[in-house]
């Protein structure tokens, strides 16, 4: 979130009285700072400059709404306020800050608008005062050499930048404290850690603005030149955000496509993804691992698309051949996603989610720590969700029953550490068994599901079947439709 977006008070819970008081306090601060500005420096040198900067400020404030993707904000208002502190002096900057927030696109509460005006006008005044106080230069005649400009404008601007950033964080944290009751210190810390880095960038660009405006004597036209590349950057960030969201939705379509084949199993992928993420969390790993394992859980059965529909909804016991065909799905899934670079962290989890800790699983027969970590996690989540889902041949197990089954199999089928984590995760999060409707049960067929522990044990006891599955890479290639050459047009 960006610091210049205090639209939060509208969602205030224990609002009004305290909030009104607080906003009155902010207005008092703004008025006091403005008075100090008038006393210190009097009128701004050029009202034209103030008018141009105010126009830019209004335009930037109206543009601020668009979300430009995660952890990216470009606050042009902050840049303009910083430049105004030098170019317009304390009074000019206060006017720029106040005017910028007067116009609103979306109708917001009056009190929010008043708070914003007070906030930005205070930041302007304070910036101008601090800049003068630390001895910043503000006339072209004194900025004679590159060195003087760097020391006499650059350094004071850094101080100004910090002051504005702190004031912004403090006043905002205050309003959040009053409106939502969250402690000031955590709010200040959060605001500074999310926008602190951006303020460094604003500082540099504000400096460029001032250099171009005063010593290079380009005046108001510098706005066009400095902001043009930034507008393009902003445009690209917005495009990025759109494309990012589009990509997320398309990825979801990949999962939906798999579920069109198995409508009775809808939601399984989603649940396995969620449970896998909880498991990794309980094991104390970081953001990246959680993401990778979650994606692996989401896509672990994507290879089922290659399994004939009649086997997925079988009306009879599965034969050995059927079992081998179904077991292909692990490697078929890998084939589907291996060309997608950003899924590279999830491929192992998809490939090996049917390995067993004792080495009797498929497709590679890996044992213990040889099995990739993500696969050991997805395996547990996958089977647990299967157990707590009702089947045609048995009702859904309760959480504690399923947990017992899992515990019995720790060390043989599953990694004991992950099963332990499962216990912890389920203590922390709510898990509801999935009860399916009668129609869904009928559609699912009567064959034992491939995720059941029984299926795993069956394959574990049949080395001949496992050997056939392990030969799968070649088999998968050959099982693609072989087209007789003589057919076609006759």
């Amino acid at each position: 979130m960006s610091t210049d977006n205090p639209g939060r008070p509208t969602r205030a819970r224990r609002s009004d009285g305290a909030t009104v008081l607080y906003v009155a306090f902010a207005v008092a601060v703004a008025v006091a700072l403005a008075a100090a500005g008038v006393l210190t420096s009097g009128q701004p040198r050029s009202w034209l400059a103030v008018a141009v900067l105010s126009g830019l400020g209004i335009a930037s404030w109206m543009l601020r709404g668009a979300n430009v993707g995660e952890r990216v904000t470009l606050s042009f208002v902050s840049i303009i306020l910083l430049a105004a502190a030098v170019i317009g002096g304390p009074v000019g900057a206060a006017v720029v800050g106040g005017l910028a927030t007067v116009v609103q696109v979306d109708p917001e509460k009056l009190i929010v608008r008043i708070f914003n005006i007070a906030l930005f006008s205070s930041m302007g005044s304070l910036g101008g005062l601090v800049y003068l106080w630390v001895g910043g230069l503000d006339e072209a005649s004194t900025m004679t050499s590159a060195g003087r400009i760097l020391l006499g404008v650059g350094l004071p601007l850094i101080v100004t930048d910090i002051a504005q950033c702190m004031l912004n964080a403090l006043l905002l944290a205050g309003v959040l404290r009053v409106a939502t009751g969250s402690p000031i210190r955590t709010q200040v810390y959060r605001l500074l850690s999310t926008t602190g880095l951006a303020y460094i960038g604003y500082g540099v660009i504000g400096f460029l603005f001032v250099v171009l405006w005063i010593p290079a004597r380009v005046g108001w036209f510098s706005a066009v030149l400095v902001l043009a590349p930034l507008f393009v950057a902003r445009w690209a960030f917005v495009q990025y955000g759109d494309e990012f969201r589009a990509h997320e939705s398309t990825l979801r379509a990949l999962v939906t496509a798999v579920e069109t084949k198995e409508p009775h199993n809808a939601g399984h992928s989603e649940r396995v993804a969620q449970l896998s993420a909880w498991l990794v969390e309980s094991l104390g790993l970081g953001h990246k691992e959680i993401q990778d394992v979650r994606t692996a859980g989401m896509l672990h059965d994507v290879g089922k698309l290659g399994v004939p529909t009649r086997l997925l909804r079988a009306r009879r016991e599965l034969t050995d051949d059927d079992l081998v065909t179904i077991a292909d799905h692990a490697l078929a899934g890998v084939q589907m996603v291996q060309d997608i670079d950003f899924l590279s962290g999830s491929v192992d989890g998809i490939a090996h989610h049917h390995e067993r800790f004792d080495g009797l699983g498929y497709p590679a027969g890996l044992a213990g720590e040889q099995i990739p970590f993500s696969a050991r996690v997805v395996a547990v989540a996958d089977v647990f969700d299967g157990l707590t889902t009702s089947r045609a041949y048995r009702p859904a197990l309760t959480v504690s029953e399923a947990l017992d089954v899992m515990n019995q199999r720790a060390g043989t089928q599953f990694d004991p550490l992950v099963v332990e984590a499962l216990g912890r995760a389920l203590a922390r999060h709510e898990w509801t068994p999935t009860v399916r409707s009668d129609e869904e049960l009928v559609a699912a067929g009567v064959a034992i599901d491939h995720d059941e522990p029984e299926t795993s044990d069956l394959l574990a006891s049949r080395p001949d079947l496992r050997r056939r599955v392990m030969g799968a890479p070649e088999r998968t290639m050959e099982s693609l439709p072989v087209v007789p050459a003589g057919e076609g047009l006759t």
């Binding site: 171009l212 004597r217 380009v218 060309d339 087209v483």
Partner: protein, 435 residues
């Protein structure tokens, strides 16, 4: 037909020659000035030289698939417009400036060649010629008896006007650059020239604006703080660079995900190996040949990749996945199911529309005036061609014969003409291929 041929000249060789001539000519005329350069001038020029060379290594692939080097171009423009003085306190001549730019760009490209293995010299040549335009106009051409650079002194009290003039000169240079690069690309892709240039300018307008503005920024700030302006005022452009780069990366990821969706039918055994990829290659080649813009091409590419997606809802695969053999009603159901899956993403509506109409015969347009997307007509022809040439790709003549039978009724004649041209080029490129 002859008009088409004129529009399809390959300008790669002329552009490379122009680049080489520019470089050599600037060295030839600039060499006399070099002994008179002071130490300060040399330092100044080398700072720009290094920036241009470094900028050249930070490449960016934009929407049209063109590679640009924004920092290099902006630094070159800044140097071209700067008021730097040369020997005898006269303004530095255009020849020395162009030489510096050429040296920097060639050095950067050479470095990339060593590190990455392959670069496109024609693109660099186009950029060199474009970059040389600005100093020639600004420092050499005379308007009313004086160069723009010397006019700049008389406009000293109206620096904003100087800024406007700089933006104009930069825009002209940028236009030359974009036109030449689009010409090279059109030659490479066998696309008609004029639409390619227009598309390039449209797609690159944003980045080009940022580049031209940065060039003017550097030149103007240089008046106040000297050569320190270069690193400082490239900063906004660096931000732009990263933003555009992120955009380019996510686009690539997106393309991969669509590719994975496309391979679903293949892995599920519904369609033949690489059928979707071949149809896509043919469709995109036809689309380019017909002068489609980049956005349309992207939609066409995605739709072609996904054109058989609807088959995964079938219970039993149809023989070899060849939809051209299926009954019209089945074809339409497959198209419809595919469009529905794609539409469920909520973000690919254009692609869904194309998919929906991919089986509609062309006569609907002729007889009922139905509005059929060009992309759908292309996919219809490309899909039929790929289904008809047979698994070994040996029935080329018979496939075209069959398609010609449906000309005007099933297939759009313009698309079929374009397909013939594309196939003709393929045969010429690989004379030993079966066919």
């Amino acid at each position: 037909m002859s008009r088409m041929h004129i529009r399809r000249v390959d300008l790669t060789v002329p552009v490379v020659v122009a680049g080489v001539v520019t470089t050599l000519a600037s060295f030839w005329t600039g060499i006399d000035d070099v002994p008179h350069l002071g130490r300060g001038d040399l330092v100044y020029l080398s700072v720009f030289l290094v920036a241009i060379a470094l900028g050249e290594t930070a490449r960016l692939t934009i929407l049209t698939g063109r590679e640009t080097a924004p920092m290099s171009t902006a630094a070159a423009l800044g140097l071209s417009l700067s008021a730097v003085r040369g020997p005898g306190d006269a303004p530095m001549g255009a020849a020395v400036i162009v030489s510096t730019i050429c040296l920097g760009m060639v050095a950067g490209t050479l470095f990339l060649r060593v590190v990455n293995g392959s670069v496109r010299w024609a693109d660099t040549a186009a950029r060199i010629v474009g970059a040389a335009v600005a100093p020639v106009i600004y420092r050499h051409a005379t308007f009313d008896g004086r160069t723009l650079l010397s006019w700049q002194d008389s406009w000293d009290d109206q620096r904003w006007f100087v800024g406007v003039v700089m933006l104009l000169v930069g825009s002209v240079a940028m236009l030359v650059d974009l036109t030449l690069e689009a010409a090279v690309r059109a030659g490479r892709d066998h696309a008609p020239l004029v639409p390619a240039v227009l598309d390039e300018i449209r797609s690159a307008a944003g980045l080009a604006t940022a580049l031209v503005a940065s060039g003017a920024l550097i030149a103007l700030a240089e008046l106040a703080i000297g050569v320190a302006a270069l690193p400082l005022f490239l900063f906004p452009l660096v931000l732009t660079y990263f933003a555009v780069q992120r955009y380019a990366t996510i686009r690539m990821t997106y393309r991969q995900t669509i590719g994975a969706l496309s391979s679903l039918t293949e892995l599920a055994g519904y369609t033949g190996t690489h059928h979707a990829q071949r149809v896509t290659d043919t469709s995109v080649a036809v689309g380019r040949d017909m002068g489609m813009g980049q956005r349309e091409l992207t939609d066409l590419e995605y739709a072609a990749l996904l054109h058989d997606l609807g088959q995964i809802a079938l219970r039993e695969p149809i023989p070899h996945g060849a939809t051209v053999m299926a009954a019209p009603a089945d074809q339409q159901r497959i198209a419809h199911d595919g469009a529905e899956i794609v539409r469920s993403t909520g973000v690919l509506d254009n692609v869904a529309t194309i998919l929906e109409a991919q089986t509609t015969p062309y006569r609907q347009v002729r007889e009922f005036g139905q509005d059929l997307p060009m992309a759908s007509r292309i996919i219809k022809v490309a899909n039929a061609y790929d289904d008809l040439i047979g698994p070994e790709g040996t029935r080329d003549d018979r496939a075209m014969e069959r398609i010609h039978l449906g000309l005007g009724y099933e297939y759009d004649p313009r698309v079929v003409d374009s397909l013939s041209r594309v196939l003709e080029r393929r045969r010429r490129a690989a004379p030993s291929a079966p066919g």
